[in-house]
Amino acid sequence: MSSPIVSITAPANPVEDFLRTDRMPHIWCPGCGIGTTVNCFTRALLESNTDLNKLSIVSGIGCTGRVAGYTNLDSFHTTHGRAIPFATGLKLASPDMTVVVYSGDGDLFAIGGNHLIHAARRNIDLKVICVNNLTYAMTGGQTGPATPLDVITATAPYGTYDPAFNLPYLVEAAGAVFVARWTTFHVKQLARSMAEMFKKKGFCFIEVVSPCPTLYQRRNKMGDGLDTMKFYKEMSKTKHGAPTNEVGLTKSGEIIVGKFVDRERPDFATMMNAHLQHELGDQYIQAEGPVCG
């Protein structure tokens, strides 16, 4: 082939340090957006100077759920839908740890929906990254809680007729302190948003609209990954602070992106410590992290 540029002095790809390179290549399809979000994640970790020894990543099950297994971090691939309660236990036992939950729309909003809203309600200090490919990809492209109306899925061969969740609206209502949405086209903005989120205390949520060319776009004659990325570029509109009830996604309409919510509310641990301190005074012994053996 014609020689690609290979520079001997090339510095390593910044993502490389964050990967379990012995597990490459990954399983994701050509044109899948999940890998793109991982790039943004790693750039955000670099930009925010997050201490990687004090960072854990927790995933549920699904194509997105595999992120935990590819990142060279303390990483937990849990059960379907339960990344958030696992992360809750991890965070409470290890208060200094930054705990990132990285999972799919089906995992977080269907089987794990109850956990998600309760963690948001309690304002557990978790950084939730939801790759929303609008379908249950891992199992073959069935209808999920974020699948828009009138699309073909493996279990809706005549098209979907059950309304989808508007993820930012739901998460804001449940109590999240930081809510943003980007698409995989918005790599810089996504990385910046993630970096901002790592610095924010409390239940934070970023939705990343991402192509699943293999199972979602193809079935709906929406082209491949690149076509989807061009669609995102064309149809996205940045509206920081947009009311989240107005940002629901449709099959081919506008995609409102931006940072929708950024507010202050004491997180679970802060509330717990302050309250118990107040009630018990000197008798209160704050849990100080790992204490066994």
Partner: protein, 87 residues
Amino acid sequence: MARGSVSIVVERCKACGFCVEFCPSKVLALSSAFNSKGYHPPHAVTPEKCSGCDLCGMYCPDFAIHGFRTDKPAAKSETEKEPDDAC
């Protein structure tokens, strides 16, 4: 004179075309050659235009390409606007 360059791990590429499409300087094209998995990886057709902005690196879902600066970082030029501005 190019201010940046790209490094490509040909074997990881799955030819999605993201890097080619979203390179702000149109440096890349998918080559006609195949890697061992049968994909056409990108190559630099106008390497002199590369700014080393690493947008290709941020887009590549397969961690197969990244860009880097070969000079001291200078003020941003026309060609390396962030896609912020594009949408």
